[in-house]
């Protein structure tokens, strides 16, 4: 097998004492930075990127992979412990992860998240090892019509996960679409709803919205009735997942990995979409969907695996075609280019040592992530013992730094604040905010792809049905909507974050 011998070459290149040390250092520092609230993998990678510049290519790549996996995992830690997502892809993790923490099972949630990340990361690297050249082609098959179909499917899945009032959920989806339209229209170059402000000309910043809507509003809800007690009154029950937890999570992990990997391959997918769809799927296949939103471990295992696998899948178009699909993979591509490595169709043949070196370093990065993070779970759980009055100002300060660091624009802090207030009021009124976010993320791509498709198509909207992949996805979406209507648009009794927080 060519792949096996390639991989052996790769490990030969990678496995030196200094590289292993760098890997350890990278995954440690990556985790530490990624764990800070408001600082997800993208910010952590951007901050730590310059470190790798001074290293020789192979060492730089090894360290980069380690930082990357560390930061990916670290992003979910604050979701679970504090109900504050480190980034958009961890928003879903809050739902059940934080509920588990409130029940004293933070350790189990963190453990499952770490293990799920490991499983997903490893499976996607294995797929990358054997199928990279074949799968790379899929990315190319996804033109504008396929993207439209995928975005529609994503929105339909969101309908399934609305908790509480359906009408409120739908209003939130519409609002998400509306606010995503602020800024320059990519298709025409016209500005929309910017009112002459240069700060609005590229739209509202996703990170500022996530931190405001989910982080600041969470803090507001907590300080409202702050007590001298620690955040969680309940006892911490065990640091690690139990046997039942493993049994319950293995299915979601595998499904999440597969789903995330496929979504990661295509340009419109990516970790955010993957985590939301995975959650909707787990809820759909669960025997008792009512447990979701109340601390169901499947709701952590699935999305956490999915978002990691999505990034793994996203590495395939990067390495085999030089095409990044998400900001994180774009950053990784940039880092490789700075190291003098130009991924592309010929990369594997021209520089097998580097190609396989990168693949091998991803295996190692994943293993180190697990080795390092499982023992840290105990440490993170102790964080819950810190009094909230000490914790919250620090969390706010870090949120400010995190929001500011992505664009270096103070305006983003105002956006964060405004969404914090809005989020607080809407939580009180039992609005589910997750659909707003996914609509905000999907809408611009949906609009752009739809308009591109119509420009390209001689037969108007029929182009959606003339292309097999697009047609399949559209049919699936219609079936899902039909099923939902038959169920009478009744929301599932999922509870959701909002109900629980104020019980």
């Amino acid at each position: 097998m060519e792949a096996i011998s390639g991989l052996i070459t790769g490990f030969g290149v990678i496995l030196t004492p200094s590289n292993i040390m760098l890997c350890l250092l990278g995954s440690f520092v990556g985790t530490m930075i990624g764990v800070l609230p408001g600082i997800g993998p993208l910010a952590a990678l951007a901050l730590l990127l310059p470190v790798t510049f001074s290293l020789p290519p192979v060492a730089g790549v090894v360290m980069l992979a380690a930082i990357f996996y560390g930061a990916m995992y670290g992003g979910s830690t604050t979701s679970i412990l504090l109900n504050i997502p480190g980034e958009a892809a961890s928003v879903v993790t809050c739902r059940d992860g934080y509920q588990m923490a409130r029940q004293g099972r933070a350790g189990a949630a963190l453990g499952v998240a770490a293990f799920g990340s490991f499983v997903a990361g490893t499976l996607s690297v294995i797929a990358l090892t054997f199928f990279a050249p074949i799968l790379g082609v899929i990315a190319l098959r996804f033109g504008p019509p396929e993207n439209v179909a995928l975005m529609v499917l994503g929105l339909v899945c969101t309908l399934y996960m609305i908790s509480g009032s359906t009408l409120k959920g739908l209003t939130m989806i519409a609002l998400g679409v509306l606010l995503a339209m602020i800024g320059t229209d990519v298709v025409s170059g016209n500005e929309r709803f910017t009112f002459g402000s240069i700060n609005l000309s590229a739209g509202l910043d996703l990170l500022a919205i996530v931190i405001g809507l989910f982080g600041v509003s969470e803090i507001l809800a907590n300080v409202e009735k702050i007590s001298k007690n620690t955040l969680l009154a309940e006892k911490i029950k065990g640091l690690f997942p139990t046997k039942e937890d493993w049994k319950a999570s293995i299915g979601p992990m595998l499904r999440g990995s597969g789903l995330g990997f496929l979504l990661g391959l295509v340009p419109g997918g990516g970790p955010i979409t993957a985590s939301f769809i995975s959650y909707a799927v787990e809820q759909k296949v669960a025997k008792d969907p009512s447990r979701f939103g109340k601390g169901a471990i499947e709701g952590v295992a699935g999305p956490e695996s999915a978002n990691n696998a999505a990034v793994g899948g996203g590495m395939i178009p990067v390495l085999s075609l030089g095409i990044p699909g998400t900001p994180v993979t774009a950053l990784l591509l940039g880092a490789l280019v700075i190291q003098g490595i130009q991924p592309g169709p010929l990369f594997m043949q021209q520089r097998p040592d580097l190609f396989w070196g990168i693949v091998a370093s991803m295996y190692i990065g994943n293993v180190f992530l697990l080795i390092l993070n499982l023992p840290l779970v105990g440490l993170w759980v102790q964080l819950l013992r810190v009094p909230y009055r000490v914790l919250f100002p620090i969390v706010l300060m870090l949120s400010v730094v995190g929001t500011y660091s992505s664009n270096k624009n103070v305006f983003d802090l105002w956006v964060m604040l405004a969404f914090g207030v809005a989020g607080y009021v809407l939580r009180k009124l039992e609005y589910d905010l997750a659909p707003f976010l996914i609509a905000f993320v999907l809408a611009p791509l949906l609009e752009q792809s739809l308009r591109q498709s119509l420009v390209m198509s001689p037969d108007g909207i029929m182009i959606m049905l003339q292309r097999p992949i697009a047609a399949t996805l559209i049919v699936i979406s219609f079936v899902l909507v039909a099923l939902m209507i038959r169920r009478g648009l009744k929301p599932r009794e999922t509870g959701g974050v909002i109900n629980e927080v104020h019980q």
Binding site: L47, L48, P50, S165, L167, K168, L170, T171, A174, L175, V177, L178, M181, D185, V187, S188, N190, R192, F193, V216, I219, L220, V223, E224, K225, I226, R389, V390, F392, P393, I394, L396, M397, L398, V400, V401, Y404, S405, K408, V410, L413, W414, M416, L417, G420, V421, Y424, V425, L426, K428, L429, A443, E447, L450, R451, L454, V455, G460, I461, H502
Partner: protein
Amino acid sequence: MIERLVNLTWVLVGAAAAVLSWRIGLTGPYGPDSGLFPFVAGILVCLGGVGLLLTKGHAVNGLEWPDRAGWRRIGGVLAGLAFMAASIPYLGFAAAGVITMLILLRTVEQSSWVSSILLAVISVAATLGLFGYLLDLQLPRGPWGF
């Protein structure tokens, strides 16, 4: 009351957005123009608001707003953040951060001055040290050079 106000906001925001998008133009030579998506979204937000206003079933039962002490704390957090955003360009991150922390600690928890100042200075210094020094993140500097 607040619930009705929020619903009314949806109606107004949705309607305003729909009007503005109508002016941008809904359709062009190839179908949708820049205005179509925001127009549809605006109409839906507006309809959502109308629906929520007219139906009773969606209102929250037993909605609890914070007591006076609660509002003071929330006000403290918002004032702190607003002060931070407003003053960063003039005072720099360090000074704005310390003052914000003091606002937060004094209004929210009413900690003693000594412990507030101590915690504020230490946490801001730690943040600056981590991001500004170790990670080379350029946080805004005040007129005094830090």
